[in-house]
């Protein structure tokens, strides 16, 4: 299969008249690992929920595998807040029931966690979601949830067994209610649930939140093994830039509801340059935009958004300046701060 797993076109979304997302567009080709990075309140979680169809955008559209995501809203509005009876119905209704455990469509209510199917895409293209803010059925154990999902036709028996094995390997209690687990353990359980059905599209919102270093490492190992073996498209929202850099092939930098930088990770970074040394000479005209200027002992440092990386490289070499690409953290610091100033 080729094409785009996610297409967001000019998406705007408001809560109580407050703009949360403003003209957001992004495209994630199938099989890519994409990152939405941004500071607190940038709109990452809202964006993911619009993509999932939990929120109906004010303007713009979201396509999942070429089909509009919002169609699912209609079906979920009538849904119960507990998992539906197993094995109900067929066809479109059954696919909708994949989401039927979610209390959504009502502001303040949270969608049920991790890995339900989607009504707008064919049953084979499962969409999974894991997020801290998800409303896990806390009285259910991981084992019960895995089996219920089996009955609901979401997980095969083999997948449910694999889920239990993965949970045991991670040291997660299988038969305790999820509510009795720690925050980090719940995050891990969500990730496992999301992966269990081998989704074609995986949306993760700060998936390692609340985890200690050991759990975090294990969770990322599980995720990376999954990505290595499955052609899944991933969209991961995080403010952890080192993680973003290590995992992401595509990067969307979100700041105050807008995409301020986007593209393949390396190509995106190549559009910027850090110049170090005694930058005495005037920058050549049209070199680019200075995003940050720092004076340091024995020299200074500029962070530039380049108009033409190649030309700039030769100019800097002639001047004997050292030019390098910024680390993602450096770049983010600049882009995030810069926008705040502009709004001040």
């Amino acid at each position: 299969m080729t094409g785009n797993a996610i297409e967001v076109r000019s998406l705007s979304f408001s809560f109580d008249g407050k703009k949360v997302l403003e003209e957001v567009s992004l495209t994630v080709p199938q099989g890519e690992f994409a990152i939405v990075a941004g500071p607190n309140g940038a709109g990452k979680t809202t964006l993911l929920r619009c993509i999932l169809g939990f929120y109906r955008p004010r303007k713009g559209e979201v396509l999942l595998f070429g089909r509009p995501a919002w169609r699912r809203c209609r079906m979920r509005r009538s849904s119960a807040s507990v998992p539906p009876a197993a094995g109900t119905g067929g066809g479109e209704d059954e696919r909708a029931s994949g989401f039927a455990g979610a209390r959504v469509g009502v502001r303040g209510a949270e969608p049920l966690a991790a890995g339900w199917g989607s009504a707008s895409v064919p049953p084979a293209t499962k969409v999974a979601y894991a997020a801290e803010a998800c409303d896990l059925p806390l009285t259910w154990s991981l084992r019960a949830l895995g089996r219920w999902r089996t009955l609901a036709g979401t997980l095969t028996q083999a997948e449910a067994r694999a889920l239990e094995e993965a949970a045991s390997a991670a040291g997660l209690p299988l038969s305790q209610p999820l509510g009795s687990l720690s925050r980090g353990q719940r995050s891990f359980a969500q990730l496992l649930l999301a992966l269990a059905g081998k989704p074609a599209l995986l949306l993760l919102d700060e998936p390692t939140l609340g985890m200690d270093a050991v759990y975090r490492k294990r969770a990322l190992e599980v995720l990376l093994a999954f990505v290595a073996e499955n052609p899944t498209t991933v969209l991961l929202a995080t403010q952890d830039l080192s993680l973003a850099e290590r995992l992401g092939q595509q990067l969307f930098m979100l700041q105050q509801g807008r995409v301020v930088a986007a593209g393949p990770m390396e190509a995106l970074k190549a559009r910027y340059a850090v110049v170090e040394g005694s930058v005495a000479a005037e920058l050549p005209p049209g070199a680019g935009r200075v995003l940050a200027r720092e004076t340091r002992l024995g020299g200074n440092q500029l962070l530039l958004e380049l108009a033409d990386p190649h030309t700039f490289g030769s100019w800097a070499a002639e001047c004997g300046l050292s030019v390098r690409q910024p680390a993602l953290a450096e770049l983010a610091e600049c882009l995030w701060e810069e926008k705040e100033e502009n709004h001040a």
Binding site: F33, K217, L220, E221, L224, A225, V227, A228, E229, S242, L243, E245, R246, L247, G248, Q249, E266, K269, V274, E276, G277, G298, G299, A317, G320, L321, S322, V323, R324, Q325, P326, A327, A329, E330
Partner: protein, 134 residues
């Protein structure tokens, strides 16, 4: 192997290129001898917390350079004979590497003597490591 493959998150060099360089160093220093098995993409990705595609890109670059070879169905191994570069290509690659080093040294305000002595020390250390293993 994982402890020797530390990637520097503050280093602006792309991660795949850093990884390729680390493995290249292991091969050149003899710590990863000819014929040695290289861990799978999945294993390396897990150990280094890297996207498998990034790991695959690093390994592909090393395969293209002839430093590693893929044996179908078995995995990736260090090539039995490290490739001999054509003198022209060697010069070009040396010049490129030297340029980065010289620019960095200049930016740091080092003298040529300081830069040369740093190069010498690193050179000796790498050769000693290679000699010790052989």
């Amino acid at each position: 192997m994982q402890t020797r493959l530390y990637l520097d998150p503050t280093d602006p060099t792309p991660l795949w290129s850093q990884l390729a360089q680390r493995i290249r160093e292991l091969v050149v220093s003899g710590q990863l001898p000819p014929g040695a098995a290289v861990p799978s993409v999945r294993t390396l990705a897990q150990e280094l917390t890297l996207n498998p595609a990034t790991v695959a890109k690093a390994l592909q670059a090393l395969v293209a350079e002839g430093i590693l070879e893929v044996r179908r169905g078995q995995g990736t191994f260090v090539a039995p004979h490290p490739p001999a570069l054509a003198p022209q290509e060697l010069q070009a690659q040396l010049a490129q590497a030297a340029r980065a080093f010289a620019a960095r040294a200049l930016a740091l305000g080092a003298t040529l003597a300081q830069a040369q002595s740093a190069l010498q020390a690193t050179w000796d250390a790498l050769e000693a490591a290679r000699g010790g293993k052989a």
